[in-house]
């Protein structure tokens, strides 16, 4: 093939390049900080940015420069198959922008990224009780959303693998560094009249949209932070009898922290309530039963209720909240000395959980965290 003078032109405009690497960074950070607890905040921030970036890229796919547009790289299935056959014969056609297979990978990644963020919002609303969908979903629904959120994430990881394979293979076959091209944006042009491909004037508009997409969720998150749900939440229902009968000796633990069979067992064993005689009147007993019926761990929509109930084996009837597997898992890093602190102790949930009495147990209402490097110690058995 005869060659005219090879020239370099900008194929990837700077917004596309910036988008690409920011998306990589936010995805990576969000992936590394998945799960809840102290890093949830970082996960949320990167997730919000990730969402803003995806929204920008979709808009940019319509109004961006030539090679950034969907119309440039979304090819028909026949073209995709033809391209893959070409790759298998080590003689693929060269495209300045995305090749037909790569174009679909990009489209799928964007689509999955959008869904990933969307389900993230649902998880946030359902499991943590704040954000766009706060109060609309129960914890159980939030949990289902999280499973989908994770499945989408792993599909994306698989696609990223294919994306990398494509980049490596095409770089090798065409003897060009595609990774570097995503940094400087330039690609070699042979026998094609170079057409100017600078960022057009309406880019400014797009950049404004992009900024909006980044800033809006940020502001949104800030506004959520200033008013955490638990601060205004009236909390779960505690009857007067419950508050007095339980609260005279200890924090009136929310009925949502144990399954109803546990409360039933505690009522039955009231003559030996961890060594204390309760001597409850029959009418008090009945009022207490009414208090937990329909408000136990299996009934309430909060995270603590859901997780405790699901952590307890169905044939087990724990009589202490601190005997449930979920509670143990969550408190495993707290050392003996901390429990001995006068404001803490296992009967003093409110020593660290500002919303303990309301039964909410929002992550943001935790006033004291076990240090990160705390040794994972089995908490000592409760002496009776």
């Amino acid at each position: 093939m005869t060659q005219t003078t090879p020239t370099n032109i900008i194929v990837w405009d700077w917004p596309t390049r910036l988008f690409h690497w920011l998306l990589v960074a936010t995805f990576g950070i969000a992936f590394a900080t998945s799960g809840d607890d102290p890093l949830l905040r970082v996960h949320l921030w990167s997730g919000f940015l990730f969402f803003g970036l995806i929204v920008f890229r979709i808009v940019w796919g319509f109004i961006g420069t030539r090679y950034a547009r969907f119309s440039d790289f979304v090819a028909s299935p026949a073209h995709v198959i033809a391209h893959i056959i070409g790759v298998l014969h080590r003689r693929p056609q060269r495209f300045l922008g995305h090749n037909p297979a790569g174009g679909w990978a990009i489209l799928l990644l964007l689509g999955l990224g959008f869904l990933l963020a969307l389900f993230g919002f649902l998880v946030l609303g359902g499991q943590e009780g704040y954000g766009l969908f706060a109060g609309l979903l129960t914890f159980a629904q939030g949990h289902q959303a999280m499973e989908i959120h994770e499945a989408i994430c792993f599909s994306m990881l698989a696609l990223i693998g294919i994306h990398w394979a494509g980049v490596i293979v095409e770089s090798f076959l065409h003897r060009e560094n595609l990774v570097a091209a995503m940094f400087h944006g330039r690609k070699r042009v042979e026998n094609v009249a170079p057409s100017p491909n600078s960022v057009p004037t309406h880019a400014k508009l797009a950049i404004v949209i992009a900024l909006g997409a980044l800033v809006t969720p940020t502001v949104f998150l800030l506004s959520m932070d200033s008013k955490p749900l638990w601060a205004n939440n009236p909390g779960l229902k505690i009857t007067h009898t419950w508050e007095v009968a339980c609260g005279e000796c200890h924090l009136p633990f929310s009925p949502s922290l144990l399954p109803s069979r546990s409360w039933e067992a505690l009522l039955a064993g009231e003559e030996d309530h961890f060594g204390d005689i309760l001597a409850l009147k029959p009418e008090t007993k009945e009022a207490l039963r009414q208090s937990f019926t329909g408000h136990s761990a299996e009934d309430e929509p909060t995270e603590a209720a859901y997780q405790i109930n699901h952590s307890v084996q169905k044939n087990q009837t724990p009589q202490r909240i601190s005997d449930t597997p979920y509670w143990r898992k969550k408190h495993r890093n707290i050392d003996v000395e901390t429990w001995k602190n006068k404001d803490m102790g296992k009967a003093r949930c409110d020593g660290c959980h500002a919303d303990a009495k309301e039964g909410i147990f929002d992550d943001r209402a935790i006033t004291w965290h076990a240090p990160f490097n705390a040794q994972s110690k089995q908490s000592p058995e409760n002496g009776r």
Binding site: E248, C249, H250, G275, D276, A279, R348
Partner: protein, 136 residues
């Protein structure tokens, strides 16, 4: 002017006296009700003895004595042995709220007598303790 402030003072004094007698009357009523249940004269000394007498040691809970949670000096706040919850002072002189709710009084005598002595208290014992805590 003089007359008015005098009137105000007298009125305040009267209110205070009424309030004080109201409290006293409740404790008196409590003691009177024990008398109708067969108790005789109440002895604060006997009440104090009861307050501080140990009834042995429970392997699970510890020493069985009122002062395990309420302290030797009922004018000071105590603490629940296991949960650590603060128990407001029992002496009426520092905590006038004490023994104003007969239902609560009976509830806790029932629980704590069984807890400490392994049986319910007699009206005589309850009255002795109340006269001790009321007279501090």
């Amino acid at each position: 002017m003089m007359k008015q402030s005098m009137m105000a003072m007298i009125f305040t004094l009267m209110t205070m006296i009424t309030a004080m007698t109201a409290t006293a009357a409740t404790l008196e009523e409590q003691l009177a009700s024990y008398r109708t249940q067969g108790a005789g004269t109440f002895d604060p000394k006997a009440g104090q003895t009861l307050w501080t007498t140990s009834h042995g040691t429970d392997p699970e809970v510890g020493e069985k004595v009122c002062t395990a949670c309420h302290l030797n000096d009922p004018r000071k706040p105590g603490k629940h042995r296991k949960t650590g919850k603060i128990i407001e002072p029992m002496a009426v002189s520092v905590n006038p709220q004490r023994f104003t709710d007969p239902e609560k009084v009976e509830k806790w005598f029932l629980r704590n007598c069984r807890q400490v002595m392994g049986r319910e208290c007699t009206p005589q014992e309850k009255g002795d303790v109340l006269s001790y805590l009321g007279g501090l």
